[in-house]
């Protein structure tokens, strides 16, 4: 199995290290030609969504990557990655892949002084450590045209911070920053 990690900007190495710990082969997606390689799943890491979104377009990676996601390739998205997948972004016109019907709010907990660490439940996994860095949360999930609604995986202080929709899992926090590998294992479970 090979997992491709979007490596345009942000904390992509942390995801690679997590997967290597689990014995999984990784490749980096830095330009359009990397999308020609063989891989079985995609990780969209944390970082700045504005930077990653712009580079996806500048490097002609946006459309081919969106096609892969739409055609059902499993995706794990964290923080900025979650923003890239959202169909709607509060207080912002620009959106990216729009492959999960939900509205996310960026920097929803305020500036860096609002960043925090906690332990909370993730559905089907149990209690796990969660690190939120200038994090977003999901304001609301929507029902798509075929009647499907994203499944809510985790709620922290009344805010949705984890969802699953078809082939995609998205979290507002950073499982790659803690030692717990269960989110990554759950993602790999979607592929195996």
């Amino acid at each position: 199995m090979t997992i491709a990690v979007l490596a345009l900007q942000g904390a992509f190495i942390e995801h690679e290290q997590m997967l290597q710990k689990l014995g999984v082969h990784t490749i980096e997606l830095r330009q359009a030609s990397d999308l020609q390689k063989d891989f079985d799943g995609i990780i969209l890491p944390g970082g700045e969504s504005t930077v990653q979104g712009k580079l996806l377009h500048d490097l002609n990676m946006f459309e081919p990557l969106k096609e892969k996601i739409q055609s059902g390739m499993p995706v794990l998205a964290t923080c900025a990655g979650m923003i890239l997948l959202a169909s709607d972004i509060a207080e912002q016109d620009e959106t990216y892949f729009e492959t999960i019907p939900m509205t996310v709010k960026r920097n929803a907990y305020g500036r860096q002084l609002g960043s925090f660490h906690t332990n909370a439940e993730a559905s089907g996994i149990g209690e796990i450590p969660m690190t939120f860095i200038r994090a977003p949360y999901v304001e609301s999930v929507h029902t798509d045209t075929s009647g499907n609604t994203p499944e809510i995986l985790s709620i922290v202080e009344d805010r949705i911070v984890g969802v699953k929709y078809k082939n995609q899992m998205a979290f507002a926090f950073h499982p790659e920053l803690d030692q717990d590998t269960q989110i990554h294992e759950a993602f790999l479970g979607m592929i195996r």
Partner: protein
């Protein structure tokens, strides 16, 4: 984990999110928007960019909080600001306006010629400049959660940033290859705590993110620093002192992502307009990198 330790971890984590990105100096909300649209992962809000500080001379201080707030309102990416070395009251002011990162910076006139700020007392994160490993570990011991090279600001000359990065790398390799019983003496020589020396020995890297700063003016400069091991790049005067800031900024952002792709960097370097003029190291009278050690 104590609250202080947890906050420090969160602050190191924010620097991890900035990796592979470009942090740009801006002086107005308009420039901040141009930088954000060009792909900056954060902006450094300051009243004058280093080239102008150097030209103006005199004492250079923290920027007007109102000006910084204007930039915070203009963009959604993290906003950093500079305080003088040792000026913990300026740092308190920046924390009060909820800045995302404080740069305790040699670009401004030092407020204390002996002591740096005790950064452990703050909730907001600090980035500090370092010319070598000892300086980096001393700043980390004081509570810095991110390090950058101390390349000569406002010159457009990359030579010093290169020197600092190479020195850091060679000192790290040296620690890695030492026997454990030699580390105590190394800690003494570097004037830093043993625990930090042990961390570098075991991990082959600093315990925090390390960016390049000072003198970056072109996409190739950025690629050079990334290939030398920088985890991201600060660009100060290089962007808004050039002919076409938006285009140059976007080109540097792409060069940082694909820093080993020379063909792409060739394209990115074409038709960028005039680069900042620049001053050679030998022509400058004030070496800002010598401020704070």
């Amino acid at each position: 984990m104590s609250t202080n330790n947890e906050r420090y971890e969160l602050n190191k984590n924010l620097a991890q999110m900035l990796k592979g990105g470009v942090i740009m100096d801006v002086t107005t909300p308009e420039q901040a928007k141009i930088a954000e649209a060009a792909g900056a992962c954060a902006v450094m809000a300051l009243e004058r960019i280093p080239a102008d500080i150097r030209a103006a001379g005199g004492v250079s201080r923290m920027s007007d909080p109102k000006m910084i707030k204007g930039i915070q309102e203009a963009v959604s990416i993290p906003v950093m600001a500079k305080c003088r070395i040792g000026h913990f009251a300026e740092a308190q002011v920046l924390q009060a306006i909820e800045i995302d990162y404080i740069d305790e910076s040699e670009v401004l006139s030092p407020a204390d010629d002996v002591y740096h700020i005790n950064k452990r007392e703050f909730g907001v994160p600090f980035v500090c400049g370092a010319k070598d490993l000892g300086e980096a570990l001393r700043r980390i011991n004081e509570g810095a959660s991110m390090i950058r090279t101390k390349g000569e600001p406002g010159t457009g000359d990359i030579v010093q940033a290169v020197r600092h990065m190479r020195k850091m790398n060679s000192e790290i390799s040296k620690l890695v290859s030492m026997r454990e019983d030699e580390l105590f003496e190394a800690a003494k020589q570097l004037q830093v705590p043993y625990d930090l020396v042990l961390y570098v020995h075991e991990n082959g890297k600093l315990p925090v993110v390390n960016f390049a700063a000072g003198g970056v003016a072109t996409p190739a400069d950025a690629a050079l620093m990334m290939q030398l091991g920088a985890e991201g790049v600060f660009v100060g005067s290089g962007i808004f002192k050039s002919g076409n800031p938006a285009k140059r900024a976007a080109a540097i952002v792409q060069a940082v992502t694909n820093y080993t792709d020379a063909k792409l960097i060739a394209e990115l370097s074409s038709d960028l307009g005039e680069a900042m003029v620049g001053i050679n190291e030998q022509e400058i009278e004030l070496l800002m990198a010598e401020r704070g050690k």
